[in-house]
Symmetry: C2
Subunit: 998 residues, 2 copies
Amino acid sequence: MMVEVGSIVVVLLSLFSGVQGLPTRRSWATQSPSCGYESCPATKADALNVHLVPHTHDDVGWLKTVDQYFYGDRNDIQHAGVQYILDSVVQQLLSDPGKRFIYVETAFFYRWWRQQTESMREDVKTLVNQGRLEFINGGWCMNDEASTHYNAIIDQMTLGLRFLKDTFGDCGRPRVAWHIDPFGHSREQASLFAQMGFDGFFFGRLDYQDKIARMKQKEMELMWRGSASLTPPFADLFTGVLPNGYNPPPGFCWDQSCADTPIQDDVNLEDYNVDSIVSNFINIAHDQANMYKTNHIIMTMGSDFQYENANLWYKNMDKLIRYVNEQQKHGSNVSVFYSSPSCYLNELHQSNLTWSVKDDDFFPYADGPHDFWTGYFTSRPAFKRYERMSNNFLQICNQLEVLGGKSSREGPNGKGESDTLKEAMAVAQHHDAVSGTEKQHVANDYAKRLSKGWDQCQILVSNALSALSGNESPSIYCQHLNISVCPTSEELGTFSVTLYNPLVRRITWTVRLPVNGTQYSVTDPSGKVVDNEVVPVSNFTRDLRRDRGYAVNELLFQVSIPALGFSTYSVSRTGKIKNVPVRKPEKHDGHAAPLSIKNEFYKVTFDPLTGFLSEIQNLENMMTLPVTQNFYWYRASEGNEESIQPSGAYIFRPNSSQPMPVTKVAQTYTIQNSLVQEVYQNFSSWCSQVVRLYRGQPFLELEWTVGPVPDGDKVGKEIISRFDTKLETNGYFYTDANGREVLERRRDYRKTWPLKQTEPIAGNYYPVNSRIYIKDKKTQLTVLTDRSQGGSSITDGSLELMLHRRLLVDDNRGVGEPLSEPGEFNDGLVVRGRQLLFLSSPEDASALHRPQAQQEYLQPQILLYPLPSSKLGKLEFSAVQSELPLNVHLLTLGQWDANTVLLRLEHQFEKMESANYSQPATVDLQKLFSWFQIESLDELSLSANQRLSEMKRLAWRIKDAYSYNLKKKWTYGVGADPPVITLQPMEIRTFLIRIQFK
Amino acid sequence: MMVEVGSIVVVLLSLFSGVQGLPTRRSWATQSPSCGYESCPATKADALNVHLVPHTHDDVGWLKTVDQYFYGDRNDIQHAGVQYILDSVVQQLLSDPGKRFIYVETAFFYRWWRQQTESMREDVKTLVNQGRLEFINGGWCMNDEASTHYNAIIDQMTLGLRFLKDTFGDCGRPRVAWHIDPFGHSREQASLFAQMGFDGFFFGRLDYQDKIARMKQKEMELMWRGSASLTPPFADLFTGVLPNGYNPPPGFCWDQSCADTPIQDDVNLEDYNVDSIVSNFINIAHDQANMYKTNHIIMTMGSDFQYENANLWYKNMDKLIRYVNEQQKHGSNVSVFYSSPSCYLNELHQSNLTWSVKDDDFFPYADGPHDFWTGYFTSRPAFKRYERMSNNFLQICNQLEVLGGKSSREGPNGKGESDTLKEAMAVAQHHDAVSGTEKQHVANDYAKRLSKGWDQCQILVSNALSALSGNESPSIYCQHLNISVCPTSEELGTFSVTLYNPLVRRITWTVRLPVNGTQYSVTDPSGKVVDNEVVPVSNFTRDLRRDRGYAVNELLFQVSIPALGFSTYSVSRTGKIKNVPVRKPEKHDGHAAPLSIKNEFYKVTFDPLTGFLSEIQNLENMMTLPVTQNFYWYRASEGNEESIQPSGAYIFRPNSSQPMPVTKVAQTYTIQNSLVQEVYQNFSSWCSQVVRLYRGQPFLELEWTVGPVPDGDKVGKEIISRFDTKLETNGYFYTDANGREVLERRRDYRKTWPLKQTEPIAGNYYPVNSRIYIKDKKTQLTVLTDRSQGGSSITDGSLELMLHRRLLVDDNRGVGEPLSEPGEFNDGLVVRGRQLLFLSSPEDASALHRPQAQQEYLQPQILLYPLPSSKLGKLEFSAVQSELPLNVHLLTLGQWDANTVLLRLEHQFEKMESANYSQPATVDLQKLFSWFQIESLDELSLSANQRLSEMKRLAWRIKDAYSYNLKKKWTYGVGADPPVITLQPMEIRTFLIRIQFK
């Protein structure tokens, strides 16, 4: 049953506090009367009102690390010191009640706050309560939108906003989202912001053609519909494009980092310039007003790391305001004043205009005909994977911090916590972090922070598992399984393997461990022997290991892990150790008969001449699709006569539209046994792939290894994996946004303006966070990725993903380094990853790829114990009474404070996507968990910084085709009486619960 | 009679207030109890006390103009904005009573002060009264020491110190002189500072060999004896060489312009570095202490235009102080605190050590073996001349502002004032102004400021002369007489010429005006006809004029002008206008008989083969000296294998020790008549000279014209005029310091350390501000210059002066431009100047060159009126009853405030220099002036910011040979009962007088 979300809210709210005896928590809405919109400056109805917004844009790492930026270290690289910015701005605000400032990045503010005296903290609270220091956006960072996953976006926003809320109360709750620098904008980001309660959103970068069209048509401000599934206006977000990126108008940058002339108003000195500056400003204001609809305009008075010496800015702006407003006496209608994005937004809202609606996104971003920022979709692929794995581990860490209770943080393995990884993950979401557009030393720093977070969470996870199992033995994490290195499994004859499953449904998983034995016995938690196989470690992998491990074989066995719980398996070596592989792989040369592998779901065939994948057959529905897959590389441009633009960390610009195949013939061999069917393809010395079907696995797995990409020929290379089919796709393909909703893409086309395509490859690339597909009426080929990548469909029936990039020159967007990752051995980075292929009808596809994508990003965590399982206490555990329906996902389960837990449940299907699963889903929260019971429950906004019942977003008039009843008292969420809740397609519901362990 | 100056003071002071009924003015010594030495931080007797001195060094123009620096305009050239520095520092001081700062350049402080609110001014006064904002040095600028004239130094110091005194009272009186950046240090500067009441002096730059020797010998601090004439300790100045120039120790620069790592003391963040920074600092402190004598050391924590964001500095220094002093708990004996140069000086004084005495100077300055900063002695020769002329006109303007009374500032010629020229002159004394080491556009700005000052003073002077003469006709200034351009004299048949003489003795002067007539009648103020001659304008001059004038002839006549007064002469054309010269000059080729010219004093002979000067004969004493004079050029180095150092604006580095002669034969012709004897020498298309003897002129004048120096051959050239004689000079020569006392120089030698000479030319150059001479026992050849130049004696009997420089590359000292002045027509600057030669016995020399040098720098001012003198009221005027003795000079006569006048009288001879004139001189002030009478009189320090009776300088123990009685209550000046005053050789006495016009 489809429940119209808004319609039942009014009833619900009145019932809420009494339901099931769950008391509500104290209201957070202790709003000071003077912050928020009420604190906004007076404006003039008959004037052109110019809102000056003093702001700084502080990258949470880019050319320097986040701590270098905070302290102002390494100013030889870039002059920037955030500690001083906050010192300086606060001093300015304290000394003059007329001034305002906005601050955005909580990662920095939090560092600063910790160092302040109590007296300074009180002063700052006063400023916040007066609305003069206003937090905008308020996430830990200003996250990237192209390569981030929604789970991590929500977490990083929650972390930042929580700090502000905890520190400043509701006056510390940002009203406006502010992504002034990210390089393109995702529709999912808009949807998430809307669900977080933001009233509006401003950004600075959009395609230059789009911007020109919008300026002409006065469409710089609009309503952005963030979701095709959620009922409007729940995911609608008022969105404004800023006039000058996020910079001041030309000539008006008064930061110490600029060289614009200051206002020189002493008539006794040389260079008096008040008159010329005032008239220039008034002209600029009128020009800008011509591109916007109301008599209010916004000017962003700041830029990267500005306001380190705020006096320069304010002193000159004070003069500007005084002298420009003095011109009103002489007939000027320009009124200029200090303001903020929220105050500007409030004026737009009060204009009561009707705004048009946009329902696509702002990708890809180009700032010139040959300058498409589509390279960073793939840049630093290893870091992009590490970030995704870290999110996986953080969710497990969060869950186990709840399930394991207090002893998870201090237990037999020592003290552990989740904050380090939370902060490291939040920092990694920055738009120069996971985006791959930072300097190498900064990328190293991000990875180091994550690694430190892992260290802490590993202790916590081990403690929690000890608590849950009653086993206090130390556990071992094998972090190099991707290159078949794990000293414990390699060396011990007997050990146990515990797998924790963060999903709320039982899963089957194939464990693969490096070993040196040839025969093993594996038993499940009940002591039952399970099948296992031993296969040789491939040469591909041996090459990567270098001196880090010597395992010759890999042990495979399938495990079954209960929902939100763990299983422990016991492994014993039964045969002797041999330094030779147990079974020789079957080699194939180019003239053998067609090779194929299959399992219960797929049969996959390879071309005997080329060794390439040639056909996939779905054995369930007998659907067959000829598919050729190969690796290619685009030769990176270093600039040409058309444009000096090279390909670089940000920009993708191939020299030619025709990529070069890595090889015309792949060398192959197979391994086939009861658990796995594998074809090993060697494309070149730096490119290989394993095509794999595990028993019971409903998809085809392609494990690719690329690198070191050769650069001895002085040619930058961008490596893609391409699938060519005969599907009649007519230019269409589909990519997800941040791992959630899927957007339709069309080659050489933009929905809202007539595109002049100038880069036929780069201009058609889109972010692929988790999946991309092509389809015709009957057949859909879906690829899940294990990290964010760039992808496209350059010709009909074709689908490509960019895997790796090695470039020789910088692309002139500031990072100042060519993207040529050294890798662990300084000879170029090797990257390994997985693509999961599904062949299905379009109707069936989501039921396949949605749960599998969930399982990809929240894989089970494997721990080893150097003991037989008999010594490990409880061998199986589940924290739930019942599994969640397949369309419902436990997005968040994490400790909030000593007594409360944050819980997010999500409907993971889109509307109309699946006949079975795109239906509302109902969950009885009290019947979900077995390990604890819920004592009280508050429903919160998505970002958990507001009670949902108190969340009141501004309502906007929008054009007819999209409109909804403005007068209706719509409110968010709450589909049924808690604790029995209903989730609509793509809905996320956020609860703060008080739990009691049973 | 030689009166021992100090001995009669005690008597005098008790008599002072009653003498002649002159009341004393109110005491200025309303000193707040907490400023000065009393406000200094507590130190520890048993610790190594590190005085951190937060400071900024703000050039009053260099790469940017003074106003650009003040406002922070043109930050594209250099980031620097003094308004923000003062904003920022004051804010820091106000927010924390533990902090201190010193400020130096009053030209900037004054600009800032004018823009402050009354409340901010009160706050700043509090800071000054607490000694936390301390003015150091306090001149309008930090003047150059090599190319400045003492008159202008005194004026610029007086201007700056007066502002501080008027604004802040005695707490605004700097105790310490601070020339941290000037490129070498003049002994006269030390003498002047001592006489201004400074207790000590610190600087940063000295010869690198000298510095190494002093560090080894702990002679970085010493007593500098500034005068060989003044009785010690009147000109003794305690002097310290700073350890790191004026920069912080390496690694401790925390300004926004630096990139040293900040102190990172949050253990939760990366890069915690407190331990390493503290131990580094303690090591540096001990190392520094090893080079100084006491347990106090000073560290200059600042540099060029630093503290624009003072928070960066103070925040890190606060941490440094805290963490370093915390180490005392662990046995460290280093105590670090905020201090000031005066507080440091006070500790040195309290150490009661005995200091050695230095009585030479710190020229030339070299910062490396091939890096002698001796080029700037000559750089920008035209500006150096314009500055000297401007001083001349300013003194006249000052005098006439007094003599003309109120109507001088507002009279028939409009409103005029002297402040503009005073400030422009003060700015021009800066060590990157008259030094010639600024960028071209800044040099232009300095000239423009002077020109605006001239405009104002011209009005004032005209008004004053109107008031004194009763003539209200508009006067005309002919500012291009040096190229024979003056429309009034060229066009009018009848006009008058008024000449004002700023000296207090009657002078004779030859007027030379461009005319087109051939016959003129000239009458003196009494109507008596005086001789005149008409001569053709030389081709040399015609070439320079281009389209600015067409006079074919010049009218010459001699005038006599009374002391401190004027004479007006009337001129009428009697013959017809002809466009041809009246008398053809007599041409000479290379084979004529010896050519000679002569007047009453000299006979000068030229070599018939070369056309060069070959012999000078003094007709009074029949002394004859063969002298060859020619022009040469050094080929400028652009760096070589020994050193990359090129010759540039600062540095002089010739490529070879052998200069190239401009020519081997000069073309000559003569003009000889009753008033003048001239030999015109043409050396090349860009080098010519007129050798001239006017009637009654006791010296030989050489008027040289050099430029545009050709650069088409891509060779930088440095042009010298060289005199070669057979005098047996044994390596010695003599140059003046700032136009006052003369120092003995010795080739390839320094008095205080064994010089390793590495640049045989540049390393022997010294500043010549007004005179240079060589001599043997019997004969002295003295050259007076009309501006500051570099000079030397490279071989025995030889004397050279560098006239002009045109260079093709920058010399890497920051100015970033090659010194290649474009000149008015952008083809290279042409410079014209004069050298005056004296041939005499050593004993007689000073009686000749001292008065003549005085007359050179204070020439009469010429004004024209387009009327016959019969219509011009009073034609002759003198403001004095009697002339001053030849050894006494009216150094200053200027309006101080509405009712008072500043008067300085100076003994202009050195001790033992002249049998006649090196005697004490007595002046009865009440009998000096006729135009007004002196109603009251206060004797002040030289800088006029303290009553002399209240001036108490710190007394220091010095080594025996130089010592004086420390216990004696010595006080300055006052040689006899005012108003009858006595002046000792080289003594300057400064009075504030209240006058009443008679």
